[in-house]
């Protein structure tokens, strides 16, 4: 079933795109990641122009994070104050990311930059997750902890202007989550990812937020920042394809619900191990793409 994408300017098989959305939704429902890191590269492999893939994947993530945020809100798993600060940082980061995106586009290095960022981020996170899940599953032996982990990071404790974040159980400077949010926002614009796979570990290990509010707050940030990013892409790069986003969403909202049900029956460590493997496969595929001589060494950009 072919369908024409008006902004991308080419035809795709609608069922393939819906299925892709479904698989990504399944993962996000099972594991709680947005799945943008899978959608964008797969869309690019499929032949969608990178700019359109990044922009439309962002729109899709907004949709998949809505239901998750609502669920966490009912469980009081969202720290709005912390969320507000991170979102403010995210919007600044998204604006900066937009400028970087255009600069790289004009230099002709956007594709390479996207690929390198993906390889570095996904590679390191995949390895960390595989290690952690492997230890839990007793594939690797647990190392005895040398010293108890510190809850408070000394650098962050040094920052001025402390605020109280009750739900997170923190008394820290808002600058730390602001900067963290900025990094997340930049990644959203450049890579078409929600950034949850970076934000969640950073919130736990760097900020020291209490675990009950981490996922909900991260999702709240993703919701707002991806919505803002869609607006940035729509008004500057003009590469949001609403038909592509709708097809992806149709698959992913259903996949997410099925995934959430399925997740209750499977060991979470097993799911994380699975996700780690998927992430590593994507990273390796992108790394090969960078190092291999491409079939076509010329590319064209309209002026």
């Amino acid at each position: 079933m072919d369908i024409y994408l008006p902004v991308a300017g080419l035809s795709v098989n609608a069922l393939v795109i819906i299925a892709l959305g479904g698989v990504v939704g399944l993962l996000s429902g099972m594991i709680g990641v947005g799945g943008g890191f899978l959608t964008t590269p797969i869309l690019i492999f499929y032949g969608i122009p990178p700019a359109v893939a990044v922009a439309s994947a962002t729109t899709q993530i907004t949709g998949t994070s809505v239901s998750a945020v609502l669920a966490h809100r009912r469980r009081k798993g969202v720290d709005y104050r912390m969320g507000g600060v991170i979102i403010a940082g995210g919007l600044l980061g998204a604006a900066a990311g937009g400028a970087i995106f255009r600069l790289l586009q004009n230099l002709g290095q956007i594709d390479t930059a996207i690929a390198i960022l993906y390889v570095v981020l996904l590679g390191s996170i995949g390895i960390l997750m595989a290690k952690e899940a492997g230890t839990e599953l007793e594939i690797f032996r647990k190392k005895p902890a040398a010293r108890p982990a510190r809850r408070h990071n000394p650098v962050i404790a040094m920052l001025p202007l402390r605020w109280r974040f009750y739900r997170s159980g923190l008394y820290i400077s808002p600058l730390a989550p602001l900067i963290l949010g900025m990094i997340g926002g930049m990644l959203t614009v450049l890579l078409g990812v929600g950034g949850g796979f970076i934000m969640v570990p950073a919130m736990i290990y760097i900020l020291g937020m209490s675990a009950q509010v981490v996922v909900g707050t991260s999702l709240l940030q993703i919701l707002f920042v991806t919505a803002a990013t869609t607006m940035i892409h729509a008004t500057t790069t003009k590469s949001v394809d609403i038909v592509l986003a709708a097809l992806l969403l149709a698959g992913s909202v259903i996949g997410a619900q099925v995934g959430a049900r399925f997740a209750q029956r499977v060991k979470p460590e097993l799911l994380r191990m699975f996700l780690a493997i998927v992430i590593l496969v994507v990273a390796i595929r992108m790394a090969i793409g960078l190092g291999w001589r491409p079939e076509e060494i010329y590319t064209v950009q309209l002026l």
Partner: protein, 253 residues
């Protein structure tokens, strides 16, 4: 486009004076190609008749070449090189007038029909496109980029040459099929037909073909371009609505 057409007419004007030469009556199967929701490409038929003055019998060695050309556009071509183990864009070249689409079909290979000078004048063949390179780069570098650009466009099926795509029956009627891929750019195209005898272009005619998005596809593309803020808001609301509807539907079920 108009200037190109005027030039074209001017080039052929001397030919029209003597009524001893054959004339062309060309047509196209569609003067408008519409891109709609399930557009996967189209096929354009260029056909017509060769009229010989005084009912003279058709002569052997009469050939036809047809060219379908899209609007020209300025672009930059980039070339990847291996830098520190990574293939990345290094050199680039600008072209001020690369056609967005170029297809040529002829009844025999072009090199056998016309000499280099003639094919350069009429822009016949992929090696004769007037790309107007915009840099002062050395000629061999320019050539390399031109070849790279043409090769890329061929892979995307936006440029092609079909050396025996034109069929002539009884020396009078001719037809050629040109296939148009799904990722064809929109705009005003020209379909040119050339009648060639003894290495000379003795008659020519132009028809215009318009390729455009219609209906919903046109509305979306225009909205994304012109009302980008409202378009963005619509995209965000659509995704919020679909996401919320999905979770609401499953909670009940």
């Amino acid at each position: 486009m108009r200037a190109a057409r005027a030039l074209f007419v001017a080039l052929l004007a001397p030919l029209a004076i003597g009524a001893t030469e054959p004339k062309l009556v060309p047509d196209v199967s569609q003067s408008r190609i519409e891109i709609r929701y399930s557009f996967t490409g189209a096929e354009l038929l260029l056909f017509g008749a060769i009229i010989y003055p005084g009912g003279r019998a058709p002569r052997e060695g009469t050939d036809i070449a047809v060219v379908l050309k899209g609007p020209v556009q300025p672009l930059v071509a980039r070339e990847k090189q291996k830098v520190a183990g990574i293939w990345m864009n290094v050199e680039s070249a600008r072209f001020r007038s690369a056609p967005s689409f170029y297809a040529v079909a002829s009844s025999r290979p072009l090199s056998k029909l016309v000499d280099e000078r003639t094919s350069a004048i009429y822009e016949l063949g992929l090696n004769n496109l007037q790309l107007s390179p915009g840099t002062g780069a050395p000629l061999d570098v320019q050539r390399r980029f031109e070849a790279g650009l043409i090769d890329l466009m061929r892979r995307h099926q936006l440029y092609f040459e079909d050396p025996d795509g034109v069929k002539i029956s009884e020396g009078v009627l001719y037809r050629a099929r040109i296939s148009i891929p799904a990722r064809v750019p929109v705009g005003d195209y020209t379909a040119e037909t050339f009648l060639i005898q003894d290495g000379r272009v003795i008659a020519g005619a132009v028809r215009e073909v318009r390729i455009e998005k219609l209906g919903f596809e046109r509305f979306v593309a225009t909205a994304a371009e012109r009302w980008s803020f409202a378009y963005g808001l619509t995209a965000v609301s659509l995704s919020l609505l679909l996401g919320w509807a999905g979770s609401a539907m499953f909670r009940r079920g």
